[in-house]
Amino acid sequence: MAKINYIEYSGEERVLEVEPGQSVMQAAVAEGIPGIIGECAGNMSCATCHVYVDEAWLERTGSRGETETLLLEEVCDPRPNSRLSCQIKVSESLDGLVVRLPARQI
């Protein structure tokens, strides 16, 4: 299991124990964390699971894919550390990962 820390826009923190293989989006949606919608269920079409990855974790979460890059131009308030959380697969090496949620997805 890996601990993922979701920090809501309000500052509220929620730590989830996530099974490796799940995406950061899936775990959030399953637990009902407000602020991550994930309507397309990881098919990279809705762009509603946008998160900011904590700088310390940028390298370990890997780089954006081609479609993801295009979609990240389409979210509200994109930043250099923006990712679609459906594209971050949880592994033991991401134990402790910190992601911050944007003010809004839409």
Binding site: V29, E31, C40, A41, S45, I106
Partner: protein, 402 residues
């Protein structure tokens, strides 16, 4: 059929999408389905229905078993209609993936938010002439105009032509009360748009129709090509149809629900920053598309019960949205609700492509209504609800303005 609400006459939980008394208030029946028959089978109309959030969450996105290739409308699935190519909402991968990719970039959150100014202007044009009125109809005065206007703006079709087309599309999907939809009424080939398409081909502009005419993509055979004229017509028809009635219903439900909850309405009118959350709660509480159908491609076991290949499965999104396992005290309307998002826009590869647009339209419409009419009382005697196996909402929702 005069059975009491929620039962089929023998005391067992009962629901179908046609019975007028159930259409009026399906929620007690949904609750019984969730509690007593989570994998419900309706013998009269030969379909299954899932009603609990957890079941819908688990199965709805599984397009391999729950196929859209025979449409997402119960009656059409049963008739085994022929779906024309390009009708991407009624296709499975790989065709669906290719077609959806073509329009996927058009309806993104950023692009839809960029339309806010134009949407607000459209609302103002509808609402300003009503200043000082003592009567406002959420549908006739705004709900029937705005969504078609916005989708027309995107497509580049003038207002007057749009009204004619909208009437045709709406009537093609209208059902007689208490009865299933007749397949022969349906039209999805895009009749009515041909002349604009041909004109637009010669007069390109910065609009969606021009984009569809020019976009190059790789189809499922790996061939790089443009959309055919037939495909463009179907795309236009799908987008115009899907973006029209549903959003009109959202505006109607906003009027109805906030009419029923005056305290929350006053709170909203006093603080418009609460509107986005209120729209989400309205979408949860009364989804314009309460049920979506799929064709079962192979035997599947759900809660120990086998649903066999060839069945029709209805996913009762409106019921999932009220499931207290997911949404505590689910039947309570509360704009301050914190918690997980509703499932009104679906889940998976077929999730609503226009959800960002619907949200912007809903938000701006409600803001502009509340600025002018912070108080209203629905004229229940004159309000008219209509319901089919796919949508449910108000055809007319007049309100008294104090």
């Amino acid at each position: 059929m005069n059975a009491p609400a929620e039962t089929g006459g023998n005391g067992a939980a009962y629901w179908d999408p046609y019975r007028p008394d159930l259409a009026l208030d399906p929620y007690p029946a949904y609750r019984r389905l969730r509690e007593e028959a989570p994998v419900y089978y309706n013998e009269t109309y030969d379909f299954y229905a899932l009603s609990r959030f957890s079941d819908i969450d688990e199965h709805f996105a599984n397009a391999e078993i729950f196929s859209s290739a025979r449409s997402d409308v119960l009656e059409f699935i049963k008739e085994d209609i022929e779906v024309p190519p390009g009708m991407f909402i009624w296709e499975d991968p790989p065709q669906h993936t290719v077609y959806r990719g073509v329009v996927g970039r058009v309806f993104t959150p950023r692009r839809m938010n960029d339309l806010e100014g134009q949407i607000r202007e459209y609302c103002k044009n509808c609402l300003d002439p009503l200043e000082g009125t003592d009567r406002f109809d959420f549908i006739a005065d705004l709900g029937a105009k705005l969504p078609g206007g916005v989708i027309g703006m995107l497509l580049g079709i003038p207002d007057n032509a749009r009204d004619v087309i909208r009437e045709r599309v709406d009537s093609s999907l209208r059902t007689e009360e208490g009865k299933p939809m007749e397949v022969r009424q349906a039209s999805f080939q895009g009749e009515g748009y041909e002349e604009y398409l041909d004109w637009r081909a010669k007069n390109p502009a910065d609009d969606l129709m021009t984009m569809l005419l020019n976009v190059e993509f790789e189809d499922e055979t790996g061939t790089r090509r443009k959309l055919t004229r037939e495909e463009v017509l179907i795309f236009v028809n799908v987008l115009a149809g899907a973006g029209n009635e549903t959003t009109s219903r959202l505006i109607g439900w906003a009027g109805k629900i906030l009419g029923d909850h005056p305290e929350q309405r006053r709170e909203l009118a006093a603080d418009l920053t609460l509107v986005p959350a209120a729209i989400e709660e309205i979408l949860r509480y009364e989804p314009p598309g309460p049920a979506v159908a799929r064709y079962v491609t192979k035997d599947v076991e759900i809660r120990g019960q086998t649903v066999s290949a060839g069945s029709a499965m209805l996913f009762l999104l409106a019921s999932a949205n009220r499931d207290s396992e997911r949404f505590p005290d689910g039947d309570r309307f509360d704009i301050h609700r914190q918690g997980p998002p509703h499932i009104t826009f679906g889940r998976g590869i077929h999730s609503c492509i226009g959800s960002a647009l619907a949200r912007v339209e809903g938000r701006v419409a409600l803001e502009e209504i509340l600025k002018r009419f912070p108080d209203w009382t629905v004229d229940a005697a004159e309000a008219k609800l209509s319901s089919s196996s796919t949508t449910r909402g108000w055809d007319s929702l007049p309100a008294f303005i104090p």
